[in-house]
Symmetry: C2
Subunit: 353 residues, 2 copies
DNA sequence: TTGTAGGCGTTATCAG
DNA sequence: CTGATAACGCCTACAA
């Protein structure tokens, strides 16, 4: 129905294979025929059929994106539009298209991935998350499918190309910053422990404290899902401790927003009564009150480099394993300050006021 | 290389065409051979090749998504992860895959679309935005490609299947709500006027005022890009008016966040001094201080229904044009109240205080 | 430098 | 009910 290579060939009075070569810009075709063919293509409004091309060449020029479960709260994070943009630009640059798969359960996701991979819809895959014991990752690895992960793989770090931030170091730095300000009661509010990013950040936090000779306090470490209600509970618990923290390292901006909120309800002032520092530096972090000090992890680049290195890998299977670390920087705004001498203590549980 | 239909055929001792038929679950195949073939498929770990299938059947079981320009601020809106989720579930349900295309400029986007459409990568397309004079839309329409738009088409509304909210009515309701509370100085803070959603909302606002016998005041209507700096300027201007508004209808939650911020800096209290109501009801709207009264437009459903109706259209080309209106509801939180008798007036420009 | 022919993995149309 | 066989649109040796 549509105009094919044959139609063009006929009009240009050449063989279909010649047209094919012109498309591929094969150097062994004379400029003259190239021109002739191109004119014919224009005249007919020819567009190559990717499907046919894929079938013949066994390559699709498309990469598949694997998102976390769509029911997961992290999915709502503005993180995603931004990585997507990076991925998209990285792919576009090399003329690759993007394929998406999502799903509610882990199995649905795995199904989607096997279909797009085995079904030959994509040449490679990028995982937009990194979690512990991930079936999708294991599947990809077994099959020898080209893939890269955004984040740090849970296992086999040396064998998997990935692009990540140095979350360990970032969190360590951030914690040290708080310590420098004079804080020694610093709590950590983390997200889902199945995500390796959470683990990395926790580790960095602990390391900083240890190096500063501050003893770790289990009560100062709480984990809640990213976002919303998450923050609420965590903060309430933290602040009803006998000696509540004077500073919080929060693993995600949105979560920090929730924290800010709860704090406000409790009448606790940021940064006067408590300091907060968080991660990702998404748009809202500068729109909160007070604007959040946050570490910018350059989300766009995470996506961009992931697309790039996946494509390299696809086009050159012997490409070595790579670990790309995207730099981060602390963006200081107004949620951190020196600890307040006059500590605010909330009424303890079981204490009547 | 991979296991094909032929391998299965050989193992099951049938013809390739028979295998193809059991894949399609053709009723004219005996249960016995079906079983035999299926066993062979399992044994070999067979997965159908979508590419080959697409080529033969001239249908890809994939739909293309067209995003707004990736450089556009709206792209950062948490609106997108949510529509994506809806789209994804709607597509998944019917076993369709998702294809994405983005681009920086309008032409880049158009290119991407023509490639995926003419290249036969997708069976249809959904536009994730609706703007004035959209080349992509015109292209799709000329070519007779199945497509649906999320939002209200600028022209030819009767001829384009679309899924939308009744933004006109929603904004009218919202404005009336403010009027009922006693406000009669209500301003409108809108986004990009190229987006038809902005226009619709503006119209609804004006209608409500007119019906209430409140005269329109041009100075009360400002347009800024969604988000960030947007809000700042707009709000400053509004509040330095001789008679500043006592209530604001803001076209987007994120923008409202920015407004909230500026207001805070100016020392103006919400809702005591000024009421705010906004749109979309994204996660952050309940995490702001005060939590925003916002109209929930059911973003997920927008996506879900769009995918569904596109697929219907693809599978049945004579499917009639449809207009699907997703209901909305006002979610009342704490950003609106009665107007304050003692109005706060900022110093006028040129006035020394 | 260009043309011919076979194949990529399926589906679809005929027969039988 | 099942088996050949010809597309689908393009790529790629191999020939010329």
């Amino acid at each position: 129905m549509a105009v094919t290579i044959k139609d063009v060939a006929k009009l240009a009075k050449v063989a279909p294979s010649t047209v094919s070569r012109v498309i591929a810009n094969n150097p062994r075709i004379s400029e003259k025929t190239k021109k002739k063919v191109r004119e014919a293509m224009d005249e007919l409004g020819y567009h190559p059929n990717f499907i046919a091309r894929s079938l013949a060449s066994q390559s699709t020029q498309a990469i598949g994106l694997v998102m976390p479960s769509s029911t997961d709260v992290v999915f709502q994070n503005p993180f995603f539009p931004t990585v997507l943009r990076g991925l998209s630009e990285g792919a576009h640059e090399k003329h690759y298209a993007l394929y998406m798969t999502t799903g509610k359960t882990d199995n649905e996701i795995l199904d989607g991935v096997t279909q797009m991979v085995q079904g030959g819809r994509v040449d490679g895959v990028v995982l937009l998350y990194s979690k512990i014991e991930d079936k999708v990752l294991m599947y990809l690895q077994e099959r020898g499918i080209p893939f890269v992960v955004i984040g740090k793989p849970f296992k086999h770090v040396e064998e998997i190309t990935h692009v990540d931030n140095d979350n360990f170091r970032a969190t360590k730095e951030v914690t040290e910053y708080l310590i420098q300000l004079g804080h020694d009661h610093i709590a950590f509010v983390g997200g889902n422990l199945n995500l390796v990013v959470t683990v990395e950040r926790l580790l960095g936090y602990e390391k900083a404290l240890r190096e500063a000779g501050i003893s770790l306090n289990d009560e100062y470490i709480v984990h809640e899902e990213f976002l919303r209600e998450g923050g609420q509970e965590a903060v309430r618990e933290l602040l009803s401790l006998k000696v509540p923290p004077t500073a919080l390292v929060v693993a995600d901006d949105l979560m920090a927003l929730g924290v800010l909120n709860t704090l406000d309800e409790l009448g606790i002032k940021v940064p006067e009564d408590i300091s907060i520092i968080s991660f990702n530096n998404v748009l809202v972090s500068e729109m909160s009150r007070p604007p959040l000090t946050s570490v910018d992890i350059n989300i766009f680049d995470l996506g961009f480099d992931a697309a790039r290195s996946l494509i390299q890998k696809i086009e050159n299977p012997k490409e070595p394993i790579k670990r790309i670390i995207i730099p981060h920087q602390i963006v200081k705004r107004f949620s951190c300050s020196f600890p307040n001498e006059e500590r605010v203590f909330l009424p303890q549980k079981g204490t009547f006021s």
